[in-house]
């Protein structure tokens, strides 16, 4: 392969694939030659053609984000072939649930103290909504964006929307 002294060095993808890195190479901006492992991981888990198709489907200004997220997921899958990055999601979700329960319990304590301290003002305010509403609002807002990893209904076929209940 004749290398021109005026051309840029091949990107990590083209180096890995042992092909000429063209000026319009879709991988070049996101897989610099200094980070060969990044593309190696992505290629091993997802495949270059899948990544290329995915990048072509997103807008140019979103491609860097897409590549970085793929690189993260690929590395996670390399480290844990069974769960990949989904394991991390499960752990974090449980942490969120635990914190929310603790928050609700602490808020309940706060209500009790407030009631005991200012009983005359108790009736002027709507009680019991803060803790539950915070939990409810939290429930409604915290995890509505994505399904639980192990819900069998997480599928584009069913497109099922499920109301988020309380913790």
């Amino acid at each position: 392969m004749a290398s021109s002294s005026y051309s840029n060095p091949p990107c990590a993808a083209c180096k890995f694939l042992r092909r000429k890195c063209l000026p319009d190479c879709i991988f070049a901006p996101y897989f610099p030659p200094e980070e060969p492992q990044k593309f190696a991981n992505v290629h091993k888990i997802f495949g270059a053609s899948n990544v290329s198709k995915l990048l072509n489907e997103v807008l140019p200004h979103q491609r860097e984000d897409a590549v970085n997220s793929l690189a993260y997921e690929a590395e996670a899958r390399m480290k844990d072939p069974v769960y990949g990055c989904v394991g991390a999601i499960s752990v974090l979700q449980r942490q969120v649930i635990r914190l929310q329960k603790e928050l609700d319990a602490t808020n309940a304590d706060l209500i009790r103290y407030a009631c005991n301290e200012i009983p005359s003002t108790f009736g002027r305010f709507r009680m019991g909504h803060g803790g539950s509403s915070s939990a409810t609002s939290y429930d409604q807002n915290s995890a509505l964006y994505y399904p639980s990893p192990w819900n069998n209904d997480t599928c584009g076929d069913t497109q099922e929307k499920r109301d988020h209940g309380s913790f």
């Binding site: 979700q93 803060g130 994505y146």
Partner: protein, 293 residues
């Protein structure tokens, strides 16, 4: 495509690839014929050969778990083509951080109530007759008592965000709360795209008003560091699928976790201002009753 002479239908994978689905098809147990979208998503992200490579060296039980995670990851990528699962992890970290900060603030307020209670008890014990006559604490005590924020407002106390926020500001415990909101994004790897994620108004996220985004304090560094710490955690939890909360909704919106965090911050600020006003009024009222002038 059905098997000739057989009663079972070809799996979604073989249907999609227009191949004969044998009884030993490795993907048949995971891609049922009535769920073609699942396989399409998985095939789009991973590809059949890569999926089989992943399953190759796993035990049968591990294969099932791995396929579930692959299917989930693929579905998430279908819904969120740009950020995928990484975006969800960032959001969860942000939620955790926010919950931790709120918890800290509520604990602080609880301690304040306890101190107030103890103070009240001790002041009643010291000056019982005057307390009984006046029905209130001594002026100096009253001043100090009513100088505490948020005491007489239970509903504010339990509407966690405004009160805790106000308490945070008053005690300067979380002086960098508003900054922390931004810093949490900065601390994430490739933070600019996370800011972009949370800054843009989400036209699909219609149901959310307070996406309390939090970042774990563990995740003050790069994404790989985050991953390493979390990996260490979840390596010990096999299996954990049964305990996952499956009551989270699955909406159609793309990039749904983007934005509305700015809106929640505005709501919080407005609530804080309302609380501050109420406290001033109550403090003024009490002042007039307990003034020593």
């Amino acid at each position: 495509m059905t098997l000739k002479g057989g009663t079972s239908q070809a799996c979604a994978a073989c249907k999609y690839r227009r191949r004969k689905c044998s009884s030993k098809c490795p993907l048949a147990p995971y891609f049922l014929p009535d769920q073609p979208k699942l396989f399409q998503n998985a095939h789009k992200l991973f590809g059949v050969s890569n999926i089989l490579k992943i399953l190759k060296n796993l035990e049968p039980r591990q294969k099932e778990e791995a396929m579930r995670s692959i299917i989930y990851q693929s579905n998430i990528r279908d819904k969120f083509p740009v950020h995928g699962c990484w975006g969800i992890i960032c959001q969860l970290h942000y939620q955790i951080r926010q919950a931790e900060e709120e918890l800290h603030a509520v604990h602080s307020q609880l301690d304040m109530y306890k101190q107030y209670q103890q103070h009240q008890i001790s002041s009643l014990t010291d000056d019982a007759p005057s307390q009984l006559e006046l029905g209130m604490a001594t002026p100096s005590n009253a001043l100090s008592i009513f100088g505490h924020p948020t005491t007489p407002q239970p509903y504010n106390a339990v509407t966690t965000s405004p009160v805790t926020q106000q308490h945070s500001y008053s005690n300067s415990n979380n002086a960098g709360y508003s900054c922390g909101y931004l810093d949490s994004k900065d601390h994430l790897g490739n933070s600019w795209w996370v800011q972009h994620t949370y800054a843009t108004t989400n036209n699909n996220n219609n149901n959310n008003t307070n996406p309390m985004a939090i970042q774990s304090q563990l995740v003050a560094s790069q994404p790989l560091a985050i991953q390493q710490e979390v990996v260490q955690d979840y390596d010990e939890i096999h299996p954990f699928f049964d305990t996952i909360d499956d009551r989270q909704s699955y909406i159609d919106s793309k990039e749904a976790y983007e934005s509305s965090s700015e809106e929640s911050l505005k709501d919080t600020i407005q609530s804080i201002e309302q609380v501050a006003e109420n406290e001033l009024k109550s403090a003024a009222a009490c002042f007039s009753l307990t003034s020593v002038n």
